[in-house]
């Protein structure tokens, strides 16, 4: 086939295209992911019953806020990565900022109490449930986000997959905060932060396979 023939083929009857579609699809996917993750958490785990206690409610906002900050930052970075070459002008290290900030706060918290409390502060009552729930709930938003990213054209699949995992993990953590009965910063840093990192690694591993075009 001559390249001229191909150019004729491609440039005959060109439809106008919408360059904002990528932005919209990702927005819709993330919105749907949030709704599905909230439903999954509320239906299968339930909302914790002691929310009328202002202290408990305040800490729920801290946990949820962490998930939301991770999600929004990840969304911003992921959007750049969906366009060819976008990885060259995005500051990916920004994604680590909320984790570093939370770890610093958790460290301050640990230093201010006797070492005998550390075990309980870090492990809480239900660390196993947290460890399982966040990655499992994240599967749903990850699938929807992957569907949206596949319609775009990422050129760094490893990083794009990692960011999709990060956003899915952030959404899932924010949803799980409704149920999570453990209220301590070291717990959130270790088990919320840790599981979101797991989701990010899983995304990086799956990215090259799922996002290839």
């Amino acid at each position: 086939m001559k390249t001229e023939e191909l150019i004729d083929l491609l440039s005959t009857n060109v439809e106008p295209v919408d360059t904002q579609k990528v932005v919209r699809s990702l927005g819709i996917a993330i919105g749907a992911g949030v709704v599905l993750a909230l439903l999954a958490c509320i239906v299968t785990l339930g909302i914790r019953p002691d929310l009328d206690n202002p202290g408990v409610f305040g800490f729920l906002l801290v946990k949820m806020g962490f998930g939301v900050v991770v999600t929004v930052l990840g969304w911003h970075l992921l959007l750049k990565h969906t366009r060819p070459g976008g990885e060259n002008h995005s500051r990916i290290f920004l994604a680590a900022v909320p984790f570093a900030a939370l770890m610093a706060l958790a460290a301050v918290n640990l230093i201010s109490v006797p070492a005998s409390h550390w075990g309980h502060l870090m492990m809480g009552e239900r660390w196993r449930e947290c460890l399982l729930s966040i990655p499992i709930i994240a599967v749903v938003p990850f699938a929807v986000i992957t569907w949206a990213v596949r319609m775009a054209a990422p050129t760094n699949l490893l990083r794009t997959g990692a960011l999709a995992g990060l956003v899915a993990g952030g959404i899932s953590a924010a949803a799980y905060a409704l149920h999570c009965p453990d209220d301590s910063l070291p717990f959130v840093a270790l088990w919320f932060g840790g599981t979101i990192v797991l989701c990010t690694l899983a995304g990086a591993a799956l990215g090259p396979r799922l996002l290839h075009w």
Binding site: T3, L6, N13, R83, P84
Partner: protein, 188 residues
Amino acid sequence: MKRENAKEASLRTLMIAGLNGDTAAYRTLLSGLSGHLRAYYRGKLVRAGRGTEEAEDLVQEALIAVHTRRHTYDPTQLLTPWVYAIARYKLIDHLRQSQSTLTNVPIEDASEIIAAHDEPATESSLDLNKLLAMLPDKVRLAIQCVKIEGLSVVEAAARCGISESAVKTNVHRGLKELNAVISQEKTK
């Protein structure tokens, strides 16, 4: 530097017009890009120790990718980095897919170097009709009508007896599938 900037500005203007449905501008853009892509791929293939005859396959693959993914271009950004990101992505993919051939380059007679003269070919090893034949019937028919015979979407819809949006979807899907079909052909 100045010349490159002027080049970028003119290609970008053509791209933005093309995104709005300006066929003539879009054709000029693709012709212009094909020249740049050819030079790029020839250079890269030589440096990777590969023959330049693969360059035209890559040029065409990249053009199809530019076309089917043109909605991912952000008009507020430069065009050249976007095109080269696609070109590089397709090159890496190509080298990865055909890695096995790297290890068995035969050592031949030194006179071979002057035996072949490489006219800058603009013909790839791909056969359009063969490729089209590999697409599903509906999709092929839509491409045949709209892209080869140049019928309008309305005319094509009347001829195929399907809705206009179905014609558009089939054309879009078909061009995307061409990419898949090409990489299948290449791995054979």
